[in-house]
Structure formats: structure tokens, C-alpha cells
């Protein structure tokens, strides 16, 4: 199967060198040119400063402030708050709490299961969509509907279906099983129900990303595979999938980030119950911060979650890169 790497390399090699006028070469001596460059740089900073300030205000500051709070003993007082000391106590409390470990386990499990399911189903959907002719636009529009729904609305919708009193699905299973199932009231079924909603909602996203990837694969690669006598399965496994890998990596990264921060689904469907079975890290952070008013501890939950998700993403990227390198060498 030499056709694949060579085709890929060929397509890379054919990329033209950027042509066109190069910027004026820098003069060797100081003088007017250098002053004008400095002035230009200054103007650049002036123009960029509103954007930098905005980014600082809405991204950098809240993140750093939240990290600061996670180490701080915060006392609310009339008209403001005071930071009394900076320690690592909140992290000790969070990391030693069984509730945090349960939340971590649920969030991690939920992420792995949903991401794998969505990747498989999304890829299948994309392959089907790729084969569709004129109907593709319509099918795509229908398929994208769940993705377009606001999360809370989707969760509420499914909440009605799962409802123990008048839920459509509860009624359906009652007819099927002969007794009323307690879908959201038992840990396993509540987790399953949540996975179903997430997969229903997010598979279209993966499908559309993968479809975009599929459309980018040049036809000559398939022609080369056909000449080599590859069957459909081998073509998919050895041609399509390796070509899709970078775009799938992006989809997976996005999904890991989203699934790890899952809040709205368990919040609307179960409030984290039954017991604490579907309490995600985001829900735990919310309850700690806003219900218990434990500001430092809530910030510590948020920070540990961020560190874990960044760690997961970096690990995934490293694994992906290692595999890609191995694939390239093989």
C-alpha cells in the first residue's frame, strides 16, 4: 500500500510556494527607516490595545482571578469581600472529598462514552451523507436540528419524555415491559438516559465536521486505491480514515472540552441525582460555589477541572501525534 503515503506526500509537495513581493529588506544602519518601523509598531500596539484589553478583561483576568480565589480564604463583607490568606487548603479539601472523586469518575466516564459513540455514529452519518446526491442538503438540515437547539431546551424536551408521570418514553417502556420504568430515578438508567440525549444532540456536529473532511479528500487518492485493487473496507480503513484523522482529532478535542464541562444536561434532567450518580464536576462546582457559598472551594473545583481537561487534551494530542508519526513511518 504505497499509494497512500505517496499520494499524501504528493499533495503536500504540490503546494505552491507563496509568491509575490517580499517586504522591504531592513536597512543595516539605523536612521529614518528604523524610526518609521518603530512608529509603525507603536501604531500597531495602539490599534491592537482595545482588543488586547478586551481579551485581558474577559479571558485572562477571570481565569487568573479564579485561580487566585482557589488558593484564597475569601470573606464576604458589607459592600465587598476580603481575601484573608492564601493556602492550598481548598485543594486538600476538594481532592480528599469522596464527592469530588465520584463527580470526576462520572464526568470522565460520560466523556469517554459519549465521545466514542458520537465519533463512530458521526463518521457513519458523514459517510452516508457523502454518498447522498441532491437530497444531501435536506437531510443535513434535518440532521442538524438537534445541534441547533439550545442545550437547556433540548434537555427540558427530553426531561418531558423521561418524566415518571406523563413522559412519552416512560409510557412506551411501560407498554413494553409491563411496569413503569424509573428512568431518571436509578443511577444506571439515569446515566444511560443522559448519554442518549448527548449523543442525539451532538452526533450531528461530529458528522458535519467529518463530512467536511471527507469532501477535502482528493478523488485521485481513491483512484490510486482502486488501481491497487483495494476493496471498500480496505479503502475506508487505509485511505479514508488516515486522511480524516486530523479533522477527527479536532472534533474529538472539541467534544472532550464540551463533555468534560457538562452542566446543563444533568442540571435539567436530574439535578445530579439520583443520590450523586450524575453529578458532573461542573454541577459540583456550581453547588459548592452558589449553593454553599464556598467561593474558594468552588474555584478549586473549577481549577482542578480545567487542569484535568487540559491534561486530557494534551495527552490525546500526544497520543494522536505519536500514532500519526508511526503511521507515517509505516
Amino acid at each position: 500500500m504505497t499509494a497512500v503515503p505517496s499520494a499524501a506526500t504528493a499533495s503536500r509537495d504540490t503546494a505552491p510556494e507563496p509568491a509575490g513581493p517580499r517586504s522591504t529588506p531592513a536597512p543595516r544602519d539605523g536612521g529614518p527607516a528604523r524610526t518609521s518601523r518603530r512608529r509603525k509598531a507603536r501604531t500597531g500596539w495602539v490599534f491592537a490595545s482595545p482588543a488586547l484589553l478586551t481579551i485581558g478583561a474577559v479571558t485572562v483576568f477571570p481565569v487568573l482571578f479564579s485561580v487566585l480565589l482557589s488558593f484564597a480564604d475569601v470573606r464576604l463583607e458589607y459592600g465587598g469581600f476580603r481575601i484573608e490568606s492564601l493556602t492550598g487548603d481548598h485543594y486538600a479539601a476538594v481532592l480528599s472529598s469522596p464527592e469530588w472523586r465520584e463527580a470526576l469518575l462520572f464526568t470522565f466516564g460520560f466523556t469517554v462514552v459519549t465521545v466514542v459513540l458520537e465519533l463512530v455514529l458521526g463518521t457513519v452519518a458523514a459517510l452516508v451523507l457523502d454518498r447522498l446526491g441532491a437530497a444531501r442538503g435536506w437531510v443535513l438540515a434535518v440532521l442538524l436540528l438537534p445541534w441547533a437547539l439550545i442545550n437547556v431546551v433540548a434537555a427540558q424536551l427530553w426531561g418531558y419524555l423521561y418524566n415518571g408521570t406523563y413522559g412519552g418514553l416512560t409510557w412506551f417502556f411501560e407498554q413494553l415491559l409491563g411496569h413503569q420504568p424509573d428512568i431518571l430515578g436509578q443511577p444506571a438508567s439515569a446515566m444511560g438516559a443522559m448519554v442518549v440525549v448527548d449523543v442525539w444532540k451532538t452526533t450531528p456536529f461530529v458528522a458535519i465536521v467529518v463530512l467536511a473532511g471527507l469532501m477535502l479528500i482528493p478523488d485521485d487518492v481513491y483512484e490510486a486505491a482502486e488501481i491497487d485493487g483495494a476493496n471498500a473496507w480496505t479503502t475506508f480503513w487505509k485511505v479514508t480514515l488516515p486522511q480524516l484523522r486530523p479533522i477527527m482529532a479536532i472534533a474529538v478535542l472539541f467534544r472532550i472540552l464540551q463533555a468534560f464541562g457538562i452542566f446543563d444536561l444533568p442540571f435539567v434532567l436530574t439535578q445530579g441525582g439520583p443520590g450523586t450518580a450524575t453529578q458532573s464536576l461542573a454541577i459540583l462546582g456550581y453547588k459548592t460555589l452558589f449553593q454553599n457559598l464556598e467561593i474558594g472551594r468552588g474555584a478549586a473545583v473549577a481549577t482542578t477541572t480545567a487542569v484535568i481537561v487540559i491534561g486530557c487534551c494534551l495527552l490525546f494530542l500526544r497520543l494522536f501525534k505519536a500514532q500519526a508519526d508511526e503511521g507515517g513511518r509505516g
Binding site: 424509573d182 441525582g273 443520590g275
Partner: protein, 441 residues
């Protein structure tokens, strides 16, 4: 690039530190001086108020605002609509208050909030602004929950009491009396269920939320099992507590309550009851109005109301969790004097009579319940309210929400059959201890 990133980090931290030191508080004495006088100049207040259940249609909050503005023409009150559940409300209001927002000036909050809000300076301590005999006309349980470390953080508005609603027609058909004990309720339910007259016997609330804590607090009080001791330590233990937890399991085990009760909040249990699926319902007083409303209730005209049952050989029936909502004053308000005046007006006779006549809740002013108007309203929960034995939840700790979480998590697990009553009691006890020590998440 590395240098720039470092500069950015350093400036972010410096900004954070600057912001922190710039948030110094105000003195309480200054605030109380401002709060002591009703202003003569025009002021506009924002009142954070959830929808007060109405009996006849008019929006109760608007009636109260209009009455207040007639008395104080220079003070305008604007309504800010609060969210529908206690927990969501607390999250929304604390976000605003912790950020030192001057609005809402007055906010309607749950009677479980004062200790937590007082400890975190989110409510103005009001006792110095009240006459000495202020509490004489309100239920003592309400006073206890409004105070924390000797300071009053909430002014009474209305109370909510729990009742047993029942299907008069079904009990009459089978010739059965209204049950006075839980054992009797189980027997009655099973008999009516077996006859195929109702899908379920008893509908209540076992979702992982404050709703279940109220139910657990009542079952524990029925079994004479305290949650905290006099010194504020954990007391939950022993056969009484296990009896209460075992009853919760018995409901689902025998099918008297649906297994889905573990996902029910008040609205779900009420929907099932007014849809004709249950014989008995535990709910707050407002359920009376909804059950009698023909546009939403299939069982209108066939519903009776009684105090909650007790245990066979246990204490007297009629235990009710002391629920309700009170007005809190935002210490950051720009109109503290006007805010206190409004909060006091809401606790006063005129506003309380508006509640009595128009709202599906029980006015906090006890004297209002004995007036002829109370009988004229035709709501038995109003006239029956004085028969109830109110029990306060263990709210006098700033860690109440963690204590509550310990109760509802274990209550939910035992009702769903995932743990035994004895294990649930032990786990709840451990969790409450951790909560009281300030170590729970």
C-alpha cells in the same frame, strides 16, 4: 513571545490583587444609620419576588406594591421576577449580592437562608431597627429560623405548611376514614390500589433537592428523631431515625408510591394527584387551590385536606415542616431606609390581609388567621394551620445547604432502594458531621 506571556500573566495577577484590595467593606453602623429612616425624597426600589401563588387571579405582588405606594407615594417599587425553584433563586441572588450589586434592594428568600446569608454579609441585620415586641405576632418557629447568632436577617412574609390532601370520593367509596397514622395510610392505599381505583396511594417528593429535605425533616419529627442536638452537633441516630428512613423505603417497596417518586418535586407530585393517579398527596398549602381549580384538576371538588399522619404509637399527627418566604434587605442598597420600610410593610397587617384574601399561602401574621375573613376565604388550610406542629429544619448553621444535601442524598438513596435504612442513617450522620465541621464540598 515568552516574555510577553509572562508580562501578561503578571499584569493579570497585579490587576487581581488590586481588585481585591479595592473591595474593602463598609461599616455596619453606617448602614444601620442609613436604614433607620424612611426617606422623604423620591426613591425607586427593586423587589426580587417569585410568583406568589394566587387564589383568585390577580397578581398578589402587584396588589401589595400598590397598597405600599398608596402609603408611601414617594417610594416606587419595581418588581424583579425571581426564578421558580429555591436553589436556582439562591444561586441567582447570591451572584448579584456577592458582587456588591445595589439591586435588588429587597429580596424574597427562603426561610432556610438567614444563617448562610447572615454569615456571608448578604443580608442586613435588622433587629436594631425593629420594636422589641415585633415577633409577638408571628410563629416562634419563624423567628428561630430568621435569626442567626442573635441577629435577625429576614422579616416574615408568608409561611408554607405541609398537609395531607386526599381523595374524599375514594375513601367514601371504600368506607375508610382519613388515616391518622402512616401504617393506616399504607393499608388504605393498598386496598384502593388493589380495587383498581387509583394507580398509586401516596405521592410525595423524593427528588435530590430541598423538597426531599422537608419531607425527611417531617418523617424524622414523626418518629421523634432530631437531626441536631441542643449544642448544634449531629444527633441523627438510633431506631427513630431508622424508622423514618424505613417508612420512605416502604412506600416504594410496596408500590404505594411510584418508584419514580425519587424524581418528584412538588409540581410532579401535584400533577400526578390532580391527574387522578393517587389517593394521597403530601404538599404545601397552595396545592389546595390548584386541586380545586377545574381548569387544571381532574379531581376538583373531590379533594379533602387533613394534617399529615404520624407513626402508630408515636407522637401526635400534624407535623409540618416550617416552610415559607421572608423579605431580606440588601446591605448594598442605595435606599436602605426605603428598603427596610417596604420589608416591614410586607410583614405588617395591611399586606398580610392582602395575602390572606388573595394568595394561596398562609400569612405569617398569626392573628390574621383567626379573623372572620379567614373563614370567608373557604380554604381549609388557612383555618387548619394553627393545628399543625411546625418543625424547623436544622437551619441555624451557615453550612445548612451541606446538611440538607446530606439528608436528601441519603433519603433519595433509601427511597430508591439503593441502600438500607440503617446504612442511610449512618451515612447521613457522617455527612452532616463533615458539613458542620465545614469540611463538606
Amino acid at each position: 513571545m515568552a516574555l510577553r506571556r509572562r508580562t501578561l500573566l503578571a499584569s493579570g495577577l497585579a490587576l487581581g490583587a488590586g481588585f481585591t484590595s479595592g473591595c474593602a467593606g463598609k461599616s455596619l453602623d453606617t448602614l444601620l444609620t442609613q436604614a433607620a429612616h424612611t426617606p422623604r425624597t423620591p426613591a425607586t426600589l427593586t423587589w426580587w419576588v417569585s410568583e406568589i401563588p394566587a387564589r383568585n387571579g390577580p397578581v398578589v405582588a402587584d396588589l401589595i406594591i400598590r397598597a405600599f405606594q398608596r402609603r408611601h407615594p414617594n417610594i416606587r417599587v419595581r418588581k424583579s421576577n425571581a426564578l421558580s425553584t429555591t436553589d436556582a433563586n439562591r444561586a441567582a441572588v447570591t451572584t448579584q449580592l456577592a458582587g456588591a450589586s445595589p439591586t435588588p434592594d429587597v429580596y424574597l428568600g427562603d426561610t432556610t437562608w438567614p444563617a448562610q446569608f447572615g454569615a456571608n454579609s448578604l443580608a442586613l441585620p435588622l433587629q436594631k431597627l425593629l420594636p422589641k415586641d415585633f415577633w409577638a405576632d408571628y410563629p416562634p418557629a419563624l423567628r428561630r429560623v430568621s435569626e442567626y447568632r442573635g441577629a435577625v436577617y429576614a422579616l416574615p412574609f408568608f409561611t408554607d405548611s405541609a398537609f395531607l390532601f386526599y381523595r374524599k370520593d375514594l375513601l367514601a367509596k371504600h368506607g375508610l376514614p382519613v388515616p391518622r397514622t402512616w401504617e393506616e395510610l399504607l393499608r388504605t392505599s393498598r386496598k384502593i390500589q388493589r380495587a383498581g381505583d387509583a394507580a398509586y396511594g401516596f405521592l410525595w417528593q423524593a427528588n435530590v433537592s430541598e423538597s426531599l429535605t422537608c419531607n425527611v425533616a417531617e418523617f424524622l419529627a414523626d418518629a421523634d428523631a432530631p437531626v441536631l442536638d441542643h449544642a448544634g452537633g449531629v444527633a441523627l441516630n438510633g431506631p427513630g431515625a431508622e424508622r423514618a428512613f424505613a417508612l420512605m423505603r416502604q412506600f416504594t417497596e410496596t408500590g404505594v408510591s411510584p418508584s419514580t417518586v425519587t424524581t418528584y418535586v412538588e409540581a410532579d407530585s401535584q400533577d400526578a394527584f390532580v391527574g387522578g393517579r393517587g389517593v394521597f398527596l403530601r404538599n404545601w398549602s397552595y396545592a389546595w387551590g390548584n386541586a380545586a381549580d377545574r381548569s387544571v384538576s381532574k379531581v376538583a371538588g373531590r379533594v379533602g385536606v387533613a394534617p399529615r399522619p404520624g407513626f402508630d404509637g408515636g407522637g401526635p399527627p400534624g407535623v409540618s415542616c416550617a416552610g415559607g418566604w421572608s423579605n431580606f434587605v440588601n446591605p448594598n442598597s442605595h435606599h436602605l431606609g426605603a428598603a427596610v420600610t417596604f420589608a416591614r410593610f410586607c410583614a405588617g397587617e395591611e399586606a398580610q390581609m392582602i395575602l390572606l384574601k388573595n394568595a394561596g399561602v398562609i400569612p405569617a401574621l398569626q392573628e390574621a388567621l383567626t379573623r372572620p375573613e379567614a373563614h370567608k376565604v373557604g380554604d381549609p388550610t388557612l383555618t387548619m394551620a394553627h393545628e399543625l406542629r411546625l418543625v424547623a429544619r436544622p437551619v441555624q448553621t451557615p453550612y445548612y445547604s451541606q446538611v440538607s444535601k446530606a439528608l436528601y442524598t441519603q433519603g433519595n438513596a433509601v427511597t430508591g432502594g439503593r441502600t438500607s435504612p440503617a446504612r442511610a442513617v449512618r451515612a447521613a450522620r457522617d455527612d452532616i458531621r463533615t458539613a458542620l465541621e465545614g469540611r463538606a464540598l
